[in-house]
Amino acid sequence: MSARVGVVTFPGSLDDGDAARAVRVSGGEAVRLWHGDRDLHGVDAVVLPGGFSYGDYLRTGAIARFAPVMESIVDGARAGLPVLGICNGFQILCEAHLLPGALTRNSHLHFRNRDQWLRVHASNTAWTNSFETDQEILVPLKSGEGRYVADQATLDELAANGRIVATYLRGNPNGSERDIAGVTNEAGNVVGLMPHPEHAIEALTGPSLDGLGFFTSILKHLAGASA
């Protein structure tokens, strides 16, 4: 039986279909989850997709955090459920305090969509074990509020404990502290990533196939866990 990966749709989610497609292309079963439904329908992992949940009007992710489905996800994540937050999903994970820090307005104040080189540092998380440590990958970035910030102590702690999942290469596109593009929690089951791996899974529509690694990682992780 293939692993069941839930993809949450909040009002205003946009890349939910793309995340589900990425799960399928990687060989998993995508299960659509609804923001208003507490039930996670027995999924083995969850993706919080990109978009503008609730319009992102107050602060990105601030309102989505209170969706009923998030209660179950927060509880699940604390108990080890793998969760990947992409872009808006990353913002929601920070607002829900599953990940440290916050995502703020790009330093140049513009939305920016470009193909972005990243270096994957932590290849030991549930979502990155398919990568080599320090592997360079090319993935689309598209966000207006992607500048990662946290206090110095937190940043030092993330760096010291290998919790910086990926950093921007060849130019910091948004002013993120320490070029951070993604971080993980202490246990390595929750990962937040600003760029969009689900848009780098087909030669026809993406700049590379590098995004697949995140989705094959979770399948490998789940297969390992159930073996």
Binding site: G50, H110, K142
Partner: protein, 559 residues
């Protein structure tokens, strides 16, 4: 109501007599499911699927308030596409500004780009192309045109008819506020002058999040077959939507205006009828399905309210009427067609611009050409340094091109290509082009050239061009010279389409792009849609990279 509905913007009173040619000269097409007169043209791309697309202007509002003007321009064209039964899948934005170094451009351009991005990105629609042109002619009248394309199963095509007496009229989406009152009649149907500051209230603020919910709710209603008729609310708000839906079906309608959810309780009936608040749709539903409709709306968190019902087309031998009451007072009692269809039609005087002969005397063949290597170098450097030829990524990086995962080609390609069917690879290609300088010299051929350029841009991707949309940006129709330019451009476009064998399926006219007596260059913007059987076969610009491209031969086609 009559002044709004019979305004230039709503009634096309100056352009109608010319636009008829698009129908008269239309080449036969078995692909066209809906054409001019509908919210947007619909083209079949195989037995099951159809595509709908249209380009529209939001020029005046974008000059007054660049961010919101451009944003609501995107919102409006998206609702047109949605009203046809389609899921919007991509947008494009042909833009024109004054000189790049003018202070107004510094105010308008960043706001317009941020507005288009802000709205389109938040709706989850990839931006797959557009134009950025700088020319002093657009100094006081920047052109902000927006194109949207949508996809629908052939049998999901929606109509705007308020058919079936007894059916319920439902208003869905945002609450109605005081914003944008008289927007179309005031903003889009007159030239700009210093008095425009007094017109500030007509500015509308967009709420893309509500629009996103409206899209999802409408699509769910279509799929469950819960909609008899649907119409978006745009210019002239409820007035337009109520009269057009009733007129389309030839029915009457009864509306209780106090049921309309208001943002400000103190609004008067005429304000409610004229408000151009964004993100609203008017639905006609069967009484027994009303609960199901309200249920879907609630699921997506959008307001939906029954505000009236369809009445018979004839009562005791008299045609049905639109009767609107406000707290038991009758405030409107008219035959709907009188507003929607019986607007005035003008045959405005036309005269070739007096200076045209002088302009045309400067023939390209007689202009000085670079004769020495140094001249050539200087010309090249001037071209490379021109804002019109510069890299557009400062603009296009502000747009999401990836969302929905079906963008096969986008900036900097000649045309945008999107995959429509993931299984077969069936897709469409789209390009928008225009050249105001050509059109100023010769509007007839200028329009043809815009069409030809757009057609070529689509063809070179490997797609077969099948349909045309257009946005005709001109000065004041009250100026005979402008009217002549308009007539010539329409004739050129219609003739060009006949020669190429593809139909015009819809479009939009924007008049009064004029500061004082000075009109903008006539600027017909033409969009062409093509079909490509398998997007994997698309041809990108640029040479194939080695090793596959090694040894490729290079040909120049044409004269």
């Amino acid at each position: 109501m009559y002044s709004i509905m019979w305004s230039e913007h709503c009634s096309y009173k100056s352009s109608k007599v010319h636009l008829r040619q698009f129908g008269e000269k239309q080449p036969p097409s078995d692909r066209m499911l809906a054409g001019i007169g509908e919210n947007a043209g619909v083209i079949k791309i195989n037995d099951e699927l159809a595509v709908t697309f249209k380009v529209e202007s939001h020029n005046h509002p974008s000059f007054v308030e660049p961010y919101q003007g451009a944003a609501t321009g995107v919102g409006g064209i998206v609702r047109d596409i949605l009203a046809m039964g389609a899921r919007p899948v991509a947008v494009m934005d042909p833009l024109r500004f004054g000189a790049a170094d003018h202070e107004d451009t510094a105010r308008v351009l960043p706001g317009v780009v941020a507005g288009i991005g802000g709205y389109g990105n938040c709706l989850g629609l990839p931006n797959v192309g557009g134009e950025v042109v700088f020319d002093p002619t657009y100094q006081g009248n920047p052109l902000v045109n927006a194109l949207c394309v949508g996809v629908l199963p052939v049998d999901r095509l929606q109509k705007k008819d308020a058919a079936g007496p007894g059916n319920i009229v439902v208003l869905m989406g945002a609450k109605t506020g005081r914003d944008g009152i008289g927007g179309v009649s005031v903003l889009a149907s007159a030239t700009f002058d210093d008095g425009s500051h007094a017109r500030r209230p007509s500015v509308q603020v967009g709420d893309p999040f509500t629009e996103k919910l409206l899209i999802e709710a409408c699509l769910e209603l279509y799929d469950a077959d819960l909609v008899v008729g649907i119409q978006d609310l745009g210019g002239a708000g409820l007035t337009c939507a109520l009269t057009e839906t009733a007129a389309a079906a030839g029915t009457g309608m009864r509306v209780w205006l106090e049921r309309v959810p208001l943002r400000e309780p103190s609004m008067e009936p005429h304000e409610i009828l004229a408000s151009e608040s964004q993100e609203r749709m008017l639905l006609i539903v069967k009484p027994e399905q009303l609960d199901a409709v309200l249920g879907v709306a609630e699921k997506w968190g959008v307001l939906a309210t029954a505000i009236g019902e369809v009445t018979p087309s004839e009562v005791s031998g008299l045609p049905g009427r639109l009767r609107i009451t406000w707290r038991d007072h009758l405030v409107v009692d008219v035959p709907p067609a009188s507003l929607a269809d019986d607007g005035p039609v003008y045959a405005r005087p036309m005269r070739e611009p007096a200076d045209l002969i002088l302009l045309q005397a400067d023939r390209a063949e007689t202009l000085p050409r670079p004769a020495t290597p140094d001249d050539l170098k200087a010309t090249l450097l001037r071209m490379v340094g021109s804002p019109n030829l510069c890299d557009k990524s400062w603009v296009t990086e502000q747009y999401d091109r990836y969302v929905l995962g079906n963008t096969v080609l986008a900036q900097p390609e000649d045309a945008g290509v999107i995959r429509v069917d993931e299984n077969s690879g069936l897709g469409v290609a789209l390009s928008v082009d225009g050249n105001g300088r050509f059109a100023r010299l010769d509007p007839y051929n200028g329009a043809k050239l815009a069409l030809a350029e757009s057609y070529r841009n689509v063809a070179v991707t490997g797609a077969k061009p099948v349909a045309v949309t257009n946005c005709l940006n001109f000065g004041s129709p009250e100026d005979p010279a402008v009217m002549w330019q308009f007539a010539e451009a329409v004739r050129g476009l219609a003739d060009g389409c006949l020669e190429l064998g593809i139909p015009v399926t819809g479009g939009n006219v924007s008049f009064y792009n004029q500061t004082g007596a000075a009109a903008i260059h006539p600027t017909p913007v033409v969009g062409v849609l093509g079909v490509i059987d398998n997007v994997a076969d698309r041809v990108p610009i640029g040479f194939a990279k080695p090793p596959t491209g090694d040894g490729d031969l290079i040909f120049l086609l044409g004269e």
